[in-house]
Symmetry: none
Subunit: 563 residues, 2 copies
């Protein structure tokens, strides 16, 4: 299981700090992922992948000469954010266009796709192609809809080599498409990993049994059979791969036998021995196979076999030099180290729009308020975590603390640079969603950004302006989150807060209106503890959450109470 953890919320961040400080091939893009430590020739296509963390050396360890130019690192098994993808892209871009090469999971496709749109709007040519090698997750007719697993190692290696050769973006994309079309993987698992901070594995495969076709996160497989011998287990995979594409005498193939973390090297070697026998028996030739842990799932027990049917071009690129942590081949050209620091998440200096003096003064005041909110959330972390643990996964306190803390730093930075109130509040919102993660982080971020845009950087804080901003916040959260009052969410406190604020603001007393609204939010949050078992999440989870307030409603009330 995963034991060496300080705080589960900080696990990925701390691991990336460790990887970055120990690695020589890649440098950290703070809060976002990795970029190459060496400069690339101007105009070289940048191949960028990424996804959830927990798969090391994929993807943070795949950055280096002859392989990836950048890797975006989300939370454990969770898609990285659009902001993270943009930060890595800006650090990795060489002016030759970018190939986004995620492995095929919906969240990754959505976020990489959104980031691609942003970059294209800035004039950068960005293509996106996904790895779809897992033969279990769809029919062969729909190969491009399958999910991606360990075969990404071969496809990315080949695409990285194509970029290193100086091929154009069109050509690198063509090579990637060809490599993916030639690549098939099939895996088995004996047991799942435990997430950092968890006491039990994600799922259990019965002892002595083997789940056939299980994905790298434990997605359902196609069969469950007895564990017998290494050879018979391997034969199941080889038979499946040969059924997908008939073996062809004389065909040369790249081979990867990949361990998920808990199935170790000697076992993988025993498996490879059988793979080689099966290939040779049908007249096929393995070309410099790779046997090891290249795409893990923390300590998950299991392995997969990947075959890539090579033509001359793919073989040349498969054999080309590469140098990443845990894998190297041939002689890479000596590279010059970067001298300029890499901009991390939220560190790329945006333009600060002009602002009125009054708005700049309000921004300074907001920075002070954001600091108070951050202090309140730090103090409330344990309380919020405890009430979230009753019905949820217990991470709400951590998320609010991280989000409010990041927002305070961002607000301070923006205000110091002369930003107005709207830009400062938007900066706080961006930082909150980038750092906090999770659904509440996304909602707080989007709401604050909408409120900031409503306020702008010129006007004073009139009652009308505050009412419009609060309305923008509420409407954004309602639209993004999709929840209604009574479902025991943040919305149960938010809507009474805004209702009260608007009513009281009509009387013209901004400070008094806020206090009354905050009191209404707190009363409504406490009331969520009394909802019966027929409502919202309480219904889904039986009556486990009855008797405790909703953590999102409670934390909302605490934030507005701290202002």
């Amino acid at each position: 299981m995963t034991r060496m953890v300080n705080s589960p919320a900080d696990f990925v961040k701390e691991a990336l700090e460790g990887f970055a400080s120990a690695q020589t091939r890649a440098v950290a893009v703070t809060g976002a992922g990795m970029a190459r430590a060496t400069r690339c020739p101007a105009g070289q296509v940048a191949v960028i992948s990424g996804g959830g963390s927990g798969h090391f050396p994929a993807f943070a360890g795949w950055v280096g000469p002859g392989f990836l130019h950048g890797a975006v690192c989300g939370n454990i098994f969770s898609s990285p954010s659009e902001a993270q993808i943009l930060a890595v892209s800006r650090a990795a871009d060489n002016g030759g266009g970018i190939l986004f090469a995620p492995i095929n999971y919906q969240g990754d496709i959505l976020h990489f796709g959104a980031a691609a749109e942003v970059l294209r709007s800035e004039g950068i040519d960005v293509r996106m192609r996904a790895v779809t090698d897992d033969i279990v997750s769809g029919t062969s007719e729909q190969h491009l809809q399958r999910r991606g697993i360990a075969g990404a190692f071969i496809v990315h290696k080949i695409a990285g080599a194509a970029a290193e050769e100086g091929l154009s973006l069109d050509e690198v994309e063509r090579v990637f498409v060809k490599a993916n079309a030639a690549t098939r993987s099939f895996g088995v698992a004996f047991g799942a990993c435990t997430l950092p901070g968890a006491d039990d594995p994600l799922f259990v495969v019965p002892e002595g049994r083997m789940a056939v076709g299980l994905g790298i996160h434990g997605e359902p497989g196609i069969d469950e059979v007895d564990v017998t011998t290494a050879d018979s287990a391997t034969d199941i995979l080889m038979d499946g791969l040969f059924a997908e594409r008939a073996p062809a005498a004389g065909q040369r193939v790249a081979v990867l036998v990949n361990g998920l973390g808990g199935t170790k090297y000697d076992e993988l070697a025993v498996v490879y021995r059988r793979v080689a026998q099966r290939l040779v028996a049908v007249g096929m030739t393995p070309v410099t196979p790779v046997v090891g842990e290249l795409v893990t799932s923390l300590d998950m027990e299991g392995f997969s076999v990947t075959l890539t049917y090579l033509d001359d071009e793919l073989e040349r690129l498969w054999l080309a030099p590469a140098d990443i942590v845990s894998f190297s081949r041939g002689q890479v050209a000596p590279g010059e180290l970067r001298t300029a620091p890499v901009a991390g998440l939220g560190e790329s200096v945006g333009e600060i729009p002009p602002a009125s003096e009054a708005s700049q003064a309000l921004a300074q005041a907001l920075a002070g308020i954001a600091g108070k909110v951050a202090a309140a959330m730090a103090a409330a972390e344990k309380l919020l975590g405890d009430i979230d643990a009753v019905a949820g996964d217990g991470d709400h306190g951590v998320g609010m603390n991280k989000g409010a803390g990041a927002a305070a730093v961002a607000a301070q930075t923006a205000a110091e640079k002369g930003a107005g109130l709207g830009t400062t509040l938007s900066a706080a919102g961006h930082a909150w969603s980038d750092i906090a993660g999770g659904t509440s982080g996304a909602l707080w971020g989007a709401g604050l950004v909408a409120a900031g845009q409503s306020l702008g950087d010129e006007q004073d804080l009139s009652a009308a302006a505050l009412a419009a901003a609060a309305t923008a916040y509420r409407d954004t959260v309602l639209e993004r989150g999709g929840a209604s009052v009574g479902e025991k969410t943040m919305v149960d406190a938010l809507v009474p807060f805004v209702d009260t604020l608007l009513a009281e603001l009509a009387a013209g007393d901004v400070s008094g209106a806020w206090k009354a609204a905050a009191a209404a939010a707190n009363a409504a949050a406490e009331q969520t503890a009394e909802y019966g078992a027929t409502r919202g999440r309480a219904k889904l989870h039986g009556d486990r959450s009855v008797g405790t307030p909703d953590p999102g409603a409670k934390s909302f009330a605490m934030v507005v109470g701290a202002v």
Copy 2:
């Protein structure tokens, strides 16, 4: 646990076959271990280590430019034999003397010591120095009596670099002694591995507890404490290392954070982050640290931290280029691949002899035929096992499948390297006997080698040449096996096969002759089912084998039928 096992008895052998066929840096010394795939300059000191298997990449994966010259691979956690050490030494020796560099365990010291005596008696200068880095296993005054653990990675890397620089044996030994004196490790474990074939781990650490100072095989530690945070666990190790040798501002250190197999990469990175913080806090500088799985214990959960206090010489050697599986650094000089096969246990060294073009073409054809035979034996494994189970131990199908598979791989390899027909057939024979085991494996191997020697690498495949080769095969099997026709063995099919082949070849039709001979073999094999209980093995085994053909005769007929 360790699950991907065919037979526990064959696990190490099969794993080494897999490692060897997947690796590009090292070649197998059959039955003994690994030697470099590249030639070394004449007179270069050879640094050889080894020990029990189950620690991959130590030691089989540490062979390559800038690192070890040879690795001897014993059974799981068991010392290799003197014969294995001698075989690896003869394959790795470059004429510059040998440094034996085991890690300090009694069995390894005894066997390496005995092998050193043998080599010295042959005029080879051999030194032996052990790695003794584990601070828990003895007092600092008795550093050289301590056991060796993961610090071997750093000490071997440095000694390998010294040899690569061309230093003399005296100098390489001096550098090794200095590196070992500068190296200290300290480890913890959360649980043990399971041995291949076992259902339970070697020992159990109570859940939530951490054994401090446990060795890599589960030797007793010094304490057991609660698992708390990654930082506090790391602090225990750093405090121990600093108590052993006081931290010194300005000191540069090589660092290894080594995972034992079940403590994964993200966790090791979180640990390294703390190690780096502790080093920086006392003014010490980590120099290109290594964080990963370099010395494992199958799937054991735990990790260690190693520090090597560097001087200028040690730092230069630590930073020197190296290229082994799972670890590389810098640019190694391009190496010329060996062309001579490596002598295995009990084999003699020989170059691939020159061959005529016709013979090389025949070798290519043989490689294809060997693939067909391997496929036929894979398909026949169950049938042969079943008929062998009537009178024997039921392993004949497995043996034939393994032997034919290994022979096919060997034939393919030899043919690709330009070997002629005779050398290719001999290579197939050696592989068959090395891999298949058992009596039939030994007979098939010896027979094929004799046939290969008869054919040579120059002549075309005339009727006379084929007749001579078949005769050589038959006579070798008769002589080695000691069986006669009628005793219900392989010989019952072999002799009629050769008789028919020789008679038909006199007519000059090679292909027709083979077909007729194969038919005769098959008829004779089937006839063995009719032998009465008074004959041969049937007599020994009562009447259990009456009614089924002899598996050896049957498999012989199937092999010649598949050609």
